[in-house]
């Protein structure tokens, strides 16, 4: 299928596809202002619920807003939420996981029990409960998703560190008197980062999924700010009438997540 890639010396097709897809969406998100044909919040009462046409490539919604423009800005919102939420989760996971793996003993037991308890909560329930208290906003959502997704990275880093801890180069560092902090930060974590990166890539996809679910329920990104999830809110009421409102945002989410999945498959091959 992608035979020509071999000619270019590219062996990792998954990574290539993944990076391509994500790059396209990222560029769309970054250059939203330049690309977007209309202002996403521009209401046009004369063009309500119009199917895709030359003027509006993806159609319009029930307030006459151009769907394509809304989706372009939605890309920016969804991608940044995904990225930052996973960033938060990974940092928390790195800290807790490496402390747990490195020091072992009581700290390890404590942190791992904490992980077990957190894993008992259905993620959505936790997120919703916090949203009920902290009012939905883009900032809050990033933090909430981050705070409820750190368990995976924590466990990963912990097991990586457990296996790396006893290796010679670590013993050597200790022998020359390196501090624990130094060992963890400069030697253990960089070597353990492979699976964490793979996990983070999948995590971004998961975060985007969570955000769109939340926004769909009205508890995520609040209208009029567009997010792929909250555009889908309208699809419930326009079911059977305006297929484009249902199809395109969902398709965007699907392709984005596929992109991240391809990327993580590709990364897995490189990072082992």
């Amino acid at each position: 299928m992608l035979m020509w890639t071999r000619g270019l010396g590219i062996k990792n097709k998954s990574l290539l596809i993944g990076i391509l897809i994500i790059a396209v969406f990222s560029l769309i998100a970054i250059f939203a202002q330049a690309i977007s044909p209309y202002d996403p919040s521009q209401i046009d009462a004369s063009k309500l619920l119009m199917p895709p046409s030359k003027g509006h490539l993806l159609g319009t919604d029930s307030l006459g807003r151009d769907l394509l423009s809304r989706m372009i800005y939605g890309a920016r919102i969804s991608l940044s939420i995904g990225l930052i939420a996973v960033g938060i989760a990974t940092i928390i996971g790195l800290i807790l996981g490496s402390l747990s793996g490195f020091y072992g003993g009581f700290i390890d037991t404590l942190i791992m029990r904490f992980v077990d308890i957190m894993l008992c909560f259905p993620t959505f329930f936790l997120i919703l409960a916090v949203v009920a208290i902290l009012e939905p906003s883009i900032f809050n959502i990033m933090i909430i998703i981050g705070l409820t997704s750190w368990m995976g990275p924590a466990r990963l880093i912990r097991s990586e560190i457990l296996s790396l801890k006893e290796r010679e180069f670590i013993q050597a560092e200790r022998a020359i008197g390196a501090s624990n902090f130094r060992i963890i930060s400069f030697h253990l974590i960089p070597n353990a980062i492979g699976p964490v990166l793979v996990n983070a890539t999948l995590g971004i996809a998961g975060a985007i999924l969570l955000e769109s679910g939340l926004s769909f329920l009205g508890l995520g990104v609040q209208p009029p700010t567009p997010s792929w999830g909250n555009i889908l809110i309208e699809s419930k009421s326009t079911l059977g009438v305006a297929w484009w409102i249902t199809l395109f945002p969902g398709l965007a989410i699907l392709v984005t997540i596929l992109g991240f999945n391809f990327m993580s498959e590709g990364l897995k091959k490189i990072l082992g």
């Binding site: 259905p122 936790l126 679910g213 769909f216």
Partner: protein, 324 residues
């Protein structure tokens, strides 16, 4: 095995404690008192209700005492009264719990029935046509936002084709149906929700079944089975499958949190009277007693599910059931 069960049961106690602590901590994250927050949103909350709330939460007392009081009430299953209609939270939950349980258990059964044959067939001919096709299907399945799929299916099967109802759990004239018709009606209403709920876990479990089966087929006892003269069918289904399927029970326990979380969205989309939708409504109305109860309940259900899965595993694997 008894020892295993006892140890497992004892291990639950710290978990339960932890669940309550975290749930309590979350609610008290609020910058202001839960009560004032509630009141600012719902000025109709009368002084009397507010006073009752103060007592319920013991908000005048230090935090750890509040926690202990709340815990004491929890143990008696006293979740307090709902803010929205002043009914006992316990009652509201109990009347909605069956629907969610039916849907999620059916989803688990659905996953079991579909994922296992797919995994087995893929494993028996790895990299064959079926396996390759399934790998692609599963890959796409992993990326599919299931609530979007629900909307698409509602559009297609519910509206365009009219084959299945798309909302509620029973038709309008349910009361006039015979018993058989009633069951059929319920089933028709549950097809789509169970299907989209289960789809999420299906991809993962069929993948897991595949690798579990491939590993089982590489075991020495498979050589023995073949050398005995057993036909391929028996080698695969009697010898390999029975081993490969053991960890699946535990893995399926791991999909329970996802199923419960999903029920929030799906029950809202399909307008089903379950605890997921109840939770959603509680969040919309900032009904704190209900929210807290649901959070604890969700975690407890997950824990119970895992417990059942682990105990089933211990029962089904002779190496654990009959320790030397």
């Amino acid at each position: 095995m008894i020892n295993y069960i006892i140890r497992r049961l004892l291990g639950i106690i710290p978990l339960l404690l932890g669940i309550t602590i975290i749930s309590f901590a979350i609610i008290h994250l609020a910058p202001g008192k839960p009560v004032t927050l509630q009141q600012s949103l719902n000025p109709k909350v009368s002084l009397e209700v507010r006073a009752r709330l103060e007592r319920l939460y013991g908000l005048d007392k230090p935090l750890h005492l509040q926690y202990i009081n709340w815990l004491k009430r929890l143990v008696r299953l006293d979740f307090g009264r709902s803010f929205s209609d002043d009914r006992l939270v316990l009652d509201k939950i109990l009347e909605r719990l069956p629907v969610t349980l039916i849907i999620n258990i059916s989803a688990l059964i659905f996953i079991f029935i579909v994922a296992i044959p797919i995994g087995v067939k893929s494993a028996v001919n790895p990299d064959g046509l079926f396996d390759k096709v399934m790998t692609i299907v599963v890959f796409i399945g992993f990326a599919l936002p299931t609530f979007w799929l629900a909307l698409l299916l509602m559009n297609l099967l519910g509206i365009k084709l009219g084959w299945l109802p798309i909302s509620g759990i029973k038709s309008l004239d349910f009361e006039y149906f015979s018993l058989g018709q009633k069951i059929l009606d319920l089933a028709r209403h549950l097809v789509l929700p169970v299907f989209v709920s289960g789809l999420g876990g299906l991809a993962g479990i069929s993948r897991y079944m595949r690798s579990s089966m491939i590993e089982a087929l590489n075991q020495p006892y498979i050589s023995t089975a073949r050398a005995k003269g057993l036909p391929k069918r028996q080698v695969v289904y009697k010898h390999a499958l029975r081993n490969a399927i053991l960890p699946i029970v535990t893995i399926m326990g791991l999909s329970i949190p996802g199923l419960l979380g999903g029920s929030v969205i799906f029950e809202s989309i399909f307008a089903l009277p379950g605890i997921g939708r109840l939770f959603y409504e509680a969040v919309m109305m900032r009904d704190y007693p209900l929210i807290m109860a649901e959070v604890v309940l969700g975690a407890v259900l997950v824990m119970l599910g895992n417990l059942i899965a682990d105990i089933s595993y211990a029962y089904v694997d002779p190496r654990i059931r009959y320790k030397k």
